[in-house]
């Protein structure tokens, strides 16, 4: 389990980022360095590759890049991660959202779909799901396929059910699933108003107008400047007074954006678009 012993030199790291950018069109140059280095070391360890082999595969093996992308991006997620966040969403945001005729939600960096479905469950319990639509996006097609299925192992569901319990919501997580052997499938009514598709926060642009954008624990992988570019994208993708939810350690520090987003919940980093 320990990480790889020798880390890449700065020059090697730059070279790798360059290859990926030029050949595959994915720009990792503004990723936070320490965790990106850890991910590269992890790929090299799992696949038993030296730097030269990794470079070779990235250049010459067209199928390898998808595998690389899956390992490089962090796809650890939970349903109802940070129960206090969902509690606050329920009490502070949902009452306002319910005044809209159509509620469009964007779950940016949705990975295997747990967070998008958590939002679907929350909206469903508030009888709002029928007039809502949830878009889940990620750069990684493999995790999106997983998200579309909405099937999770019982082991995971057990820990998600524990999270749900801490939210203080009235229902029970398992009410929304059908258990089959060692897996649980989310009810099809919860999947009806969801769409999972590819969107790259770094290179793609506005594709709809939303009442709520949730992008939690994605900014931690990005440098501050890139975070600002994406905050701009979110600002332009929100309706007036629309809500933005970031991870609870991802505070907006920039003065410019503090003027554009009002703090709704300081601890959970829930913001509302203001000004123009």
């Amino acid at each position: 389990m320990p990480d790889a012993k020798e880390s890449l030199t700065d020059a090697q790291l730059t070279e790798l980022i360059d290859i990926v950018k030029k050949i595959h069109g994915f720009d990792f140059s503004d990723y936070t360095e320490a965790s990106f280095r850890r991910r590269i070391a992890r790929v090299m360890m799992i696949k038993k590759l030296e730097f030269y082999d990794l470079k070779h595969l990235l250049i010459n093996d067209p199928g390898f890049f998808q595998e690389f992308l899956e390992e490089i991006t962090v796809n650890v997620t939970e349903m109802f991660r940070d129960p206090a966040f969902y509690k606050s969403l329920h009490t502070q945001v949902i009452p306002y959202l319910s005044t809209y005729q159509h509620i469009k939600v964007w779950c940016a960096g949705c990975s295997t779909g747990e967070e998008a479905y958590s939002l679907a469950i929350l909206l469903n319990e508030e009888k709002l799901l029928k007039r809502s639509f949830i878009y889940g996006t990620d750069i990684n097609t493999e995790v999106l396929n997983y998200a579309k299925k909405g099937i999770y192992s019982l082991r995971k569901i057990k820990s998600y059910a524990e999270n749900y319990l801490f939210t203080g919501l009235p229902g029970s997580l398992t009410d929304h699933f059908t258990m089959m052997y060692d897996a649980a499938a989310i009810h099809s009514e919860l999947k009806q108003n969801t769409l999972f598709s590819v969107h790259n926060l770094i290179s793609d642009t506005v594709f709809n107008e939303f009442q709520l954008i949730s992008c939690r624990n994605v900014f931690i992988y990005f440098e501050t400047e890139l975070q600002h570019r994406i905050l701009d994208l979110f600002y332009n993708s929100l309706c007036p007074l629309g809500y933005l939810c970031l991870g609870n350690k991802e505070t907006i520090r920039s003065d410019i954006f503090r003027k554009k987003f009002k703090v709704i919940n300081q601890k959970e980093n829930i913001y509302q678009k203001i000004g123009s």
Binding site: M1, P2, D3, S7, T32, E33, A34, S35, R38, R39, V74, V76, T77, R81, D82, P83, E162, N163, F166, N217, F219, I220, Y221, T224, Q227, G247, K249, E250, T251, R253
Partner: protein, 199 residues
């Protein structure tokens, strides 16, 4: 083992104090937080294993009893001097060469998030020999290989004497891996940390 001039000098010249612990380490960390002077001219980073969804008063308890400024780490938070930072639950804490923290939600290491190994290794890469790191009581071996990397990078590495540890496995693993340059009693650890900074 008594404290010699060498260890005292290395402690005094360190910029970073890293403290890692798990089961049985809370009381010790609490005492350290209490005894560190307000202006110790160092950055203190504490990684203690903690459960998610478990409303914890660690920060509050520590902050009320600390003479230094104390905070739970946020993403991209600048690393300041004379401040104690506590790693948040359900994230790994990393350090960046530009002088700020970054967080990571990737897989648990040794079933732990925060993992002591992850932070120790990251600090080793950036701060090398400017670090004093101490590994305390704990029931698994998280932290041992991180401490080894710190030692290889020139840091001053210390394990709590397992004889005195409530849970021996964590400091013992570090000793078995030759990660700890010094094995100290808790009394000596406190004495060392009370030595005022170089002037």
């Amino acid at each position: 083992m008594a404290l010699d001039d060498h260890i005292i000098h290395r402690w005094q010249s360190s910029r970073i104090l890293l403290l890692g612990g798990s089961a049985g380490s809370f009381k010790l960390l609490y005492r350290i937080v209490k005894l560190l002077p307000a202006k110790c001219s160092k950055t203190v980073i504490i990684i203690i294993h903690r459960k998610k969804n478990f409303f914890s008063e660690i920060e509050k308890l520590f902050a009320e009893n600390s003479r230094m400024c104390l905070r739970e780490i946020s993403d991209k938070e600048p690393i300041a001097i004379n401040t104690i930072y506590v790693a948040p639950a359900n994230y790994h804490t990393l350090v960046e060469k530009q002088g700020f923290f970054s967080l990571d939600v990737s897989e648990a290491v040794w079933f732990s998030k925060p993992s002591i190994d992850v932070t120790f290794e990251s600090v080793a890469e950036i701060y090398k020999d400017q670090v004093t790191a101490i590994l305390f009581s704990g029931a698994n071996q998280d932290g041992a290989s991180g401490l080894l990397k710190l030692r290889q990078s020139g840091a001053l590495t210390i394990a709590q004497n397992p004889v005195e540890a409530e849970m021996t496995e964590m400091p013992q693993s570090a000793i078995d891996m030759h990660a700890a340059e010094y094995v100290l009693s808790t009394t000596d650890i406190f004495k060392l940390l009370e030595t005022p900074p170089d002037t």
